[in-house]
Symmetry: C2
Subunit: 187 residues, 2 copies
């Protein structure tokens, strides 16, 4: 499902091509520069003019959201495919954290998104909204098996994700961070 609405809007061939180029370029530029990415850089990298950017994405914020949404989609898919069904829920939970850390370390934009107040992000690219429930479900299974401390909540995990973003953003050692934090969650 690529479109959010059933309203068919046939895009001209060159327009569709440019839209894809812009998204791809934006992904790279936001990965490097986070929210400080510049529209002109995105345009140059995509090989289009800034006008074309604005035809497809009315504002920088919307472009950032589109990029973020793709990455959240990928992460959600990874969780569903590789973590949620793991017979060892603790291993699954660990894998979620490690993947999130790797993503953030490679994508400053993703770390920045977790550091800004989530209120100004729509649900479809909100880390907490999209990833909280599946991650919480894994946590619940771990708790049911006595592998995780029972008083830890889904909300707590989100807090730990936020902390993680600060570590990756400052170039800290996120492996050590995860080790300590997961020790604090484990029984």
């Amino acid at each position: 499902m690529t479109l959010t609405h059933p309203v068919a809007k046939p895009l001209r061939a060159d327009a569709a091509r440019n839209r894809a180029r812009v998204l791809e370029a934006a992904e790279k530029v936001f990965a490097d520069a986070g929210q400080e990415a510049q529209m002109e850089d995105v345009a140059r990298r995509a090989g289009v003019g800034v006008g074309t950017l604005y035809r497809h994405f009315p504002t920088k914020q919307k472009l950032a959201e589109a990029v973020l949404e793709r990455q959240i989609d990928a992460l959600a898919a990874f969780i569903a495919a590789e973590c949620a069904t793991d017979p060892d829920p603790w291993a699954g939970l660990t894998r979620v954290f490690r993947r999130a850390a790797q993503d953030q370390a490679a994508n400053r934009g993703q770390a920045d998104a977790l550091l800004s107040l989530a209120d100004d992000l729509p649900d479809r690219c909100c880390h907490r909204v999209r990833l909280g429930p599946p991650t919480g479900a894994i946590l619940a299974r771990a708790q049911a098996q006595g592998l995780a401390r029972p008083e830890v909540t889904e909300e707590d995990l989100h807090t730990l994700f936020c902390g993680l973003s600060a570590v990756t953003r400052t170039g800290g050692d996120w492996e050590r961070y995860l080790e300590i934090v997961l020790t604090g969650v484990r029984v």
Copy 2:
């Protein structure tokens, strides 16, 4: 070569008064807005013109550093007076974290400083440089008494402080964060 040499430079009475006002105003404005604080806001709050700001602090960055330095000084003094000498090193360490969290929650500027790369901050207002050693010493005592996991390092604690800044900045529940993280450090 330090400019803070014993070279006495007697400041005119009004200049000294204004300098103090600027610092006080800046502390409040940076506490509210962090690095996004605006020089004009500081000037207005201090009841002076922007020109006066720039006579005392040649750049916004320098002003932010001066504010930060005072807060780091206060935190260092607190650690030395109330935590370093605690017979129970674990209680001391906990108090350091709690105080840091409270400071950050009340001072967005302090949280922002921990989220930016520390490289561009001079030593005298660098969290890691100023607070790492005394905090590390408390950790070492806790480890010697078998209260903290032996493989945790001073560096790790700094990483956890960085994570803490993300939690306070996003309005997360830092009490829960500390509880989980400190559980991960404790034996």
